[in-house]
Symmetry: C2
């Protein structure tokens, strides 16, 4: 049998595993009456949003497909469709399962206690993890089998897959991010601060929207995000290997990812076996053992493939280890001394909370970027030492970091499921004991989410760098020595200056979108509190659907501009100023996106946890002035960490992937200058 059939076949097995896990979730009861109703409301709201979002996406993807067909041929057009479909499907199934799991986590916590609740929520997240990995292997692996397994007749068509996937990811992240944060900020500001009712209080008209948002933003958005880094790193490595005409190195990324899926399934099994004990250690053993298993299996894979230099394995290891390290640094900045310092600065008011949080965020940029720089240095010199193009090492390091995405994503998606379960418990009045269980799971979820976010940024940065390198290699192949991306070339500088602007522009647009949508949400919630008589007394129901509608409309309306900018900029600069300026733009964009992503994600995470630290009773606890001060930090942190920050990863990957796709069409110097 052709070895290229293995990845898609393993992908199918992964989908079966996902289905089995889904059935395990469904075994648990979805509660009665009020609980069931709330669960259904969240499920329906999330599904409705996704369906409308995908309609918008369909139009956008259709335009891309037509353009791809016109300028790049049928193979690329098909790949765009497959990439967009796989990414959408992964997000959709994962979110579908998550919204089934959240209510079941709450009932499990009520009936069977903490261990059962952990199992259900982790299963819920695992469906997403397995779908991301499996659909990546099925889609990309399948296309590889048809387009490239013969040595590469249509290997460049695979880039279309990356473009389709990354465009879907950008819209999901931005749309989901705007949805979730406008609902969250609106519900918190009016409910917690103005009306003085607890978080997730059923009287608050915004809480259903808030919980829907957790699913469409943190689950579906995150899934598409990781999906596109996962596939992007493979596509870039394949493209670079193709310039070396080395079919072994071309297949290796898919082989590694397939191996990683097996390791992830084993990891999920390990977590399950240990979940009866302490949840934190169960998750940690999964996080650490799966990569270890993967590395061992990768060694045997590469050995069996024969002509792969073992130095490449060290690239894989550098990526896997680097990913863990970046995650741990993220955990430090969003969980330890820095968080305490931010909370303490709340004693002198919200202004000092802002200053210290921004400063923590800025500081947190440094070490992760230095780790990335080290990975680049190590992997390129290892690769070139073994006679392989240096940047192939970077691509493989990214693949190494992302191969165990099945379990990383599972642990990451488990957090929002637990968080949602807590919301459902609160809304349906399940009592303090249930809430304590879900709170402890949620807290653990916040830590794993922080690690997951650091990991996602690191992986996306390496993937983007690999894609940019593939772009350079392809343009250099066409133009030879005339294409030198020298920093002393004014066109490169101009491109870099343009590039650094884009992340700032997109962040500004998405922050404004959240601010505007939250403003509408605030007015609606205020209106309902005022006009619906009996709402505060609990004798009348809020009009939750109206809030879901506001968030949906805002998200869909405001996600278009960032998406269009991201897709159009490479074309505008590439045709307008030429392939050289575009190379500069990608480099400037990469630096800006990585730095802003870390800055915003970590500042936001630290503010969030500073608030939680105070809410645990420190520094005066809930209701104190310090608490009000840290709540402001958390509110500002919301769009930072869940809307603008996470869009940065995808932004650079979309721009890089579009550049790679159009690279064969670009002039060396543009028409504008």
């Amino acid at each position: 049998m052709n070895i290229a059939l293995f990845p898609p076949l393993l992908g199918l097995i992964g989908m079966i595993a996902a289905f089995v896990v889904y059935m395990l979730v469904m075994k648990y009861p979805d509660g009665e009456d009020k609980v069931k109703k709330i669960g259904d409301q969240i499920h329906a709201g999330a599904l409705a949003f996704m369906k409308t979002e995908y309609k918008y996406l369909l139009v956008f993807i259709a335009v891309l497909v037509v353009l791809a067909q016109m300028f790049l041929g049928t193979e690329t057009a098909i790949a765009v469709v497959v990439g967009a479909a796989c990414s959408s499907l992964a997000g959709f199934i994962g979110m579908y399962a998550a919204t089934k799991a959240n209510v079941r986590t709450a009932t499990a916590a009520q009936k069977d206690g903490a261990a059962a609740a952990l199992s259900v929520s982790f299963y819920g997240g695992s469906v997403m993890g397995l779908c991301v990995a499996s659909l990546g292997l099925i889609g990309l692996g399948g296309l590889y089998y048809f387009y490239a397994a013969d040595g590469g007749t249509h290997v460049h068509a695979l880039e279309g897959f990356g473009m389709g996937a990354s465009v879907v990811a950008l819209f999901s992240r931005v749309g989901g991010g705007i949805f979730t944060k406008s609902a969250d900020v609106g519900a918190d500001l009016v409910g917690k601060i103005e009306a003085g009712i607890p978080e997730d209080d059923p009287r608050n008209p915004g809480v259903i929207a808030d919980n829907v948002g957790d699913n469409v933003g943190d689950v579906a958005g995150m899934g598409s995000d990781i999906f596109e880094s996962y596939c992007g790193s493979m596509i870039a490595s394949i493209a670079i290997a193709y310039t070396m005409k080395d079919s072994g190195l071309m297949f290796l990324p898919l082989g590694l990812a397939a191996t990683g899926l097996v390791a992830s399934i084993l990891g999920i099994f390990i977590v399950k076996l240990r979940s009866a004990k302490e949840p934190a250690s169960a998750l940690r053993s999964g996080t650490l053992l799966a990569p270890a298993i993967f590395i061992v299996m990768a060694y045997f894979l590469m050995n069996s493939m024969g002509d792969i230099p073992m130095a490449v394995l060290w690239c894989v290891i550098s990526g896997a280890v680097g990913g863990v390290l970046i995650g741990l640094i993220t955990e430090y900045y969003t969980g330890s001394a820095p968080v305490k310092k931010i909370a303490e600065s709340g004693e002198t008011g919200s202004a000092t909370v802002m200053i210290s949080g921004l400063s923590v965020g800025m500081q947190s940029v440094v070490i992760p970027i230095l780790i990335l720089a080290t990975i680049i240095l190590v992997s390129t010199s290892l690769a070139s030492g073994a006679g392989v193009v240096g940047v192939y090492g970077v691509g493989i390091a990214a693949v190494g970091m992302l191969s165990t995405v099945g379990i990383t994503m599972a642990i990451d998606a488990y957090g929002p499921v637990a968080d949602n379960a807590g919301g459902i418990a609160e809304m349906s009045g399940m009592g303090k004991e249930v809430r304590d269980i879900t709170d402890s799971l949620d807290e653990l979820g916040n830590t794993t989410a922080a690690i997951g976010k650091g990991f996602a940024i690191g992986a996306a940065a390496l993937a983007a760098l690999a894609i940019i390198s593939a772009y350079s290699a392809q343009v250099a192949f066409a133009y030879g020595d005339a294409f030198a991306l020298s920093l002393t070339d004014p066109m490169v500088l101009v491109g870099m200056f343009i590039g650094i602007c884009i992340p700032f522009l997109i962040s500004s647009i998405t922050m404004t979108a959240v601010g505007d949508a939250a403003f509408e949400m605030i007015n609606e919630i205020r209106r309902q509190f005022k006009e619906i008589s009996g709402l505060m007394e609990g004798t009348a129901d809020p009009d939750s659907e109206k809030c879901v509608e506001i968030a949906t409309k805002a998200a869909l309306k405001k996600m278009m501009l960032p998406g269009i900018i991201a897709v159009a900029m490479p074309a505008v600069v590439g045709f307008g100023l030429g392939a050289i300026a575009l190379g500069g733009m990608l480099a400037g964009g990469l630096l800006g996106c990585v730095a802003l992503a870390l800055f915003m994600a970590n500042a936001g995470g630290a503010w969030d946890n500073a608030k939680k630290y105070v809410e645990k009773g420190n520094l005066g606890g809930k209701g104190s002035d310090t608490h009000s001060a840290v709540v402001v930090g958390d509110t500002v942190g919301d769009p930072f960490k869940d809307t603008s920050g996470p869009s940065m990863n995808i932004l650079i990957n979309v721009m890089a992937m579009v550049s790679l796709v159009i690279s064969s069409l670009l002039p060396l110097n543009g028409i504008l200058f």
Copy 2:
């Protein structure tokens, strides 16, 4: 007579003009009793800070001089001393005059009305403007006469001048910035928010420190900042021209700057003539006419020099026009619709003020950077079209932007003088009419300061780019084709990643410094309000000196680390990873510094003006909830716009200048990898 004697001689004439202007300031009375006492306290506090600061600086500069002597020779060592001395002197004299002018502005407003007050404050600022331009010409022009007028025996020694000047600038900016904002934030938070007394109330122990801070930060710090961009752009252009062995182009930057000084003196005269009329139009006519005069004079200068291609004049014009445009964009973001939007978001609390301000700051990055990119594109193609090295065009554009620094700086430094005058009027109880005059001057000063800041960032960016280009040219001269700063070289990428970290790290350190120092200040002011009986009733005096002392100590202690990092990083990366990685680091640092400088300066300025907008009675006016919300924005904006943001300009220039100085010593690949 040797033409190279003209710049230093014109510099001497400029110093005489500065002395004349200073005597005009001193003609006005410094008030009686309370007014005089407060004026003296501020003057003495500022002088005391500067003296202590310069002691620290002396040690640091001494180390640099010894190193320069050991590795680069006596000429460079002398140049470091001269550069540091000229920069310190410009800052010192300018601040000395400003602290004499502030109290005299207040008395002039009281006795002779608005026109006289404008004259005094503008004269106060003009001393700084003229000193910066004149001392630059005397110092750099003098060294040029001795070291380079013969065609360039010791032309590289001039780079030592740039290093000395930029190191002084960094310490002044960072130290002054920490001083001023710790005092400002502390005085505001306790006085305005907790004690509920007005700004600049004499009972507040922190207000003297706050007013001292305006002088050491906004006047002296800004002076050294502009001084180093002014000299840096000339040094870089000279160095690039030297690689072409073209003595006409080598002298041109100094010739243009000397011409610009004459135009500035005329501009100051024009403002004086028109100051009896409307102040805003008087300042504007100076701002616009001086560059126009300069360009005409530059045309004649270049004509008379014979062999200068006229395309170079267009580079000058592109810089001068670009500088004005960037200033206008800054004015938009810190003064128009965006400010109103931030103020309106105050209606939903401080969190939305933060979100909208951060978003305005991020958006404001885009157009100025695109203007810079356009200047780069235009000036490099004009220059290379005329047979001159492209980057020489960038250097000359920066020189063009900065040549009329005499008047730009005068208008910029006028603002803090007027602001201080208002503080003195308030503290000494001069009454509402006086305060109205100083308020209107201050408001105008805020607009001119915003324009000045945008201008400073743009000029610094071009100067840094020119210095970086000079660095590349010198390394390339030594290593030939082996030195290619290609974006596809992993070492360049690693350098770029390191480079983008540094501005984030330095911003974080300086933000934290302000936060920590403000925390100490808050505790001290709270203590005095509690322990000094009769203070709130106005029967006892606060211990203002204690507050000055706290700010001084904090500033001096916390300015060391950023200074050391900025000077050491080029050496560490240059020797550790090599000249190629250092080139990448400078590029990454440039992008990060420019983007963060614009982001922080404009967000801070917009928050400041949003607060002022509400305080004028809009949206509920002073004392409303909206007001409390926008005060938070203003407090966060303080370190953004006056500490961390302005340090960014100098940071990249220090790193670039140190790299240029050590370029001849660097290995191509470092010892570490």
